[in-house]
Symmetry: C2
Subunit: 172 residues, 2 copies
Amino acid sequence: MNLFDESVPAFIRMLKNLERWLDEAETYATERGFDVEDLLTARLHIDQYPLTRQIQAACDSAKLATARLAEAKAPVHDDVETTLAELRTRIGETLAFIEGFSAEDFEGKADAKLYLPFLQGGYVVANDYLHQFALANFYFHITNAYAILRHNGVKLGKRTFIGHMNVQMPEA
Amino acid sequence: MNLFDESVPAFIRMLKNLERWLDEAETYATERGFDVEDLLTARLHIDQYPLTRQIQAACDSAKLATARLAEAKAPVHDDVETTLAELRTRIGETLAFIEGFSAEDFEGKADAKLYLPFLQGGYVVANDYLHQFALANFYFHITNAYAILRHNGVKLGKRTFIGHMNVQMPEA
């Protein structure tokens, strides 16, 4: 087991769950007769990121964490999405990028020193970066996206948040 | 590395961060002259758990995941907290319990079959349980607690959510 197992599968799972929450948002908008795009500027407080920015940040936190831990180059996204369709494309491109990695790409890199742009010349060891920042950062944005939808009445609950679990039945 | 490294340290970090968010809630209540306990019944939507229940569930998700993965017995909490002081005690008791575990307690248990009460006679393998349920479940409740406070104006941001990261400076 290496850092791949803790990161990429969770990013993929939750980004695919996010796609389901957006499906629910569209269903709800149709039921209630409002424009689903109006949800994109919703936020929980005036100085918080709105839904569009939470989704962009969830995508970037998955993309950048994957690239940094694998010491790979990440594709650039310019945060220009203004429609739900464009945000879905952004999620799809993020998934396509991170799905290209495997545990081998992360092998032996848990002790790498990561000089990140926001560390002012300092570095964080890859293992610390994942456990002290990257996972919490990803869950922060994706759960705030969920919370904004939930606050606005989209029919979501914990089961939709978490998605599928591999439950098995005992042999007879 | 085993499942301990992915779970208990994150639970401890985030529960301690939650204590800081509650400090900020108290500061904000004092500044604005409202009773901080009034936040405990706040929620993002009428059919969502209020703050008290999110905190109880965050504590339980950390406690139960730790106990299940270590095949240990968890202390019982009856969800009777009605004040911020009682919720702080609950968080403290949860921390005291999970801080008692080490990686050794999780050794060789990643393949254990966990027959959980909500699986209707089925089981989930410990490794799947952590990656497909327990971590997302914990972040779900703790981030919704954060979101409820944030929505109500408590001065929180991503830095407060994530907490300390071990940044190091290169040798001269």
